[in-house]
Symmetry: C2
Subunit: 327 residues, 2 copies
DNA sequence: TTGTATGCGTTATCAG
DNA sequence: CTGATAACGCATACAA
């Protein structure tokens, strides 16, 4: 079924059908109604692909997610999907692994779909290979990076103050008298490096020391890292780069009969449902993902419609204090 | 940049470029290499929209999600996205509210994109209005419903044995000596009705009674419903239609100083991360979402490629026993 | 108010 | 092995 079929049935030309279906003026009420009723009866919808070809606009937004297992990212993606949908855009979501090749492939897919704009979610997209992929395959498509940076004309950034957030968390615990810090970090991303720098900076400012550990990006990863901490020496404050790790940590502490926050205080990052569900509930650095996501949408829509768009927006963090830290 | 531009630079016709870029045989190695190097240097990608127009295939899959806040669904969506991506398909994810109008609109969007196939995630799509929307706008596009049913020729189903799962959970608790049951149900969906029927059936079979409560689909909803239960009388076993409710429930019980599972046993549904993180961890009915999702992909790909596809597949449940129920 | 012709970027058929 | 040419479904400038 095409507009030509509708046209034939209605006894008019295809352009007339096109005009009616696009709500353009200059059509007699009679013809309009005839065409409309035929269209509705047949359940016909204009082909967005053909329309996009003719209008040079796909009404498609590409969303790249670096790690699907991180619900932090998927939540952000959904905020965007919803907001774009309000404005008539469809979102295509691609999950790129962490290897360069599949990430570049994802960019090529977006290019072949001729997306009107794109959002890259996660700091791990701040890489050389991404920069060159964008430069070669999408040199002029507006792109917004959530918590990432790429120094290209068509790329905009909305970033979180990860460093400041972690620094504040350390300061908070220091203010409560904690002096023996540990920091558990998941995978090595630019964002996690900033968090670590925040911790290091605050620790140094107080003239303290801190043990740094790496672990897998999961509940179990946090659990095991915490066991390692407990087997190695004294600690009265543990910070985790993500809530899910902290959830594992709280569980490990509890399994060892250690009181949280009396013996050991715990801080997470993300202010996610994990921090709420855990027992005790976990104090967390909130980088305000949903606000960041909304900002991404706004920036991208500005850029797509030629309005001046904010090249680099940094959103403030917030400390959410729960049961895992002393009052 | 189009294949005509590439053709002009290479000094050949557009058809030759098309052949090379599609890896078709019958081109001299020399011309092929010339075209390939020009293409790579320019970062050109074939337009999927134009290609789709000519080939009558969009290589697009539509995914409808009923409720974005339910991570159960989004997890399923991502399994699918990943699997489809492996086969060259792009997924467009639309979140329909719960009202009929926006759901029908979502179907129309899929129709206008000419998706090659679609998956509807969630039992709430089993409705009259959905059936008629599909019949009018996508009468011949293969569609798979995850945990839903629509009696149309082009619609396939992969469903969970919700009823059996809940029946088994009640039986399990009965076997541990529990006699005073409560059941907390979130929103009214076909799936949740099946779960409730499972509970009712098992309760009746044992000649018992059960208190039924409704609540919001959230941690807080489960928390408050549980408070209501505790204020109203005696209970030694509470089942929740979703883990997130059970997580709220466990927290409420704990806040009241009630021992889980000694005083009250708790059962959830979904076997999600929530059931793992809670303390005590929560026994849960696993309807095996990731297997369901994989099955959806397989069925849809069968249907799209004309192979015989399973019209209705029911997957078995599994009880995952954790700390919230007696051993 | 409506119709005709053309272009959008690609594939496919048919010649050469 | 390669090149014209039509077709895919729609929008739009131009004519009538």
């Amino acid at each position: 079924m095409t507009i030509y079929d509708i046209a034939r049935i209605a006894g008019v030309s295809a352009s007339t059908v096109s005009r009616v279906l696009n709500g353009r003026p200059g059509i007699s009420a009679e013809t309009r109604n005839r065409i409309l009723s035929i269209t509705q009866a047949s359940g016909f919808e204009l082909s967005e692909a053909a329309r996009g070809l003719a209008k040079k606009s796909s009404m498609l937004i590409g969303i790249l997610v670096s790690d699907i297992r991180n619900q932090h990212y998927t939540n952000g993606a959904y905020v965007m999907v919803e907001e774009f949908q309000k404005n008539g855009y469809c979102s295509i979501i691609l999950n790129t692994g962490s290897d360069d090749e599949s990430r570049v492939n994802a960019v090529r897919m977006l290019a072949s779909r001729r997306v009107d704009g794109a959002v890259f979610i996660g700091s791990s997209f701040s890489s050389e290979s991404m920069a060159s992929a964008v430069a070669t395959y999408m040199p002029s498509t507006p792109i917004v990076m959530e918590n990432g940076v790429l120094t290209l004309d068509n790329v905009y950034s909305v970033i979180a103050d990860d460093e400041g957030g972690l620094r504040a968390a350390v300061d908070y615990l220091y203010g409560k008298g904690r002096r023996h810090f540990s920091y558990v970090n998941a995978n090595d991303t630019p964002s996690n490096r900033m968090k670590r720098e925040g911790v290091e900076g605050a620790i140094a400012a107080h003239g303290l020391e801190c043990r740094f550990l790496e672990c897998e990006d999961s509940f179990d990863g946090g659990y095991e890292a915490t066991n390692r901490i407990l087997s190695e020496g004294r600690t009265d404050a543990i910070l985790y780069s993500m809530d899910i790790l902290a959830a594992g940590g709280v569980r490990a502490l509890s399994d060892h009969g250690i009181s949280v926050p009396d013996d050991v205080a715990v801080f997470g990052v993300d202010n996610s449902i994990y921090s709420v569900i855990s027992r005790p509930s976990i104090s967390s650095v909130d980088t305000n993902l949903s606000r960041m996501s909304s900002q991404c949408v706004r920036t991208l829509e500005d850029a797509m419609s030629g309005r001046p768009a904010e090249k680099m927006a940094e959103l403030p963090y917030e400390l959410v204090i729960r049961e895992s830290t002393p009052r």
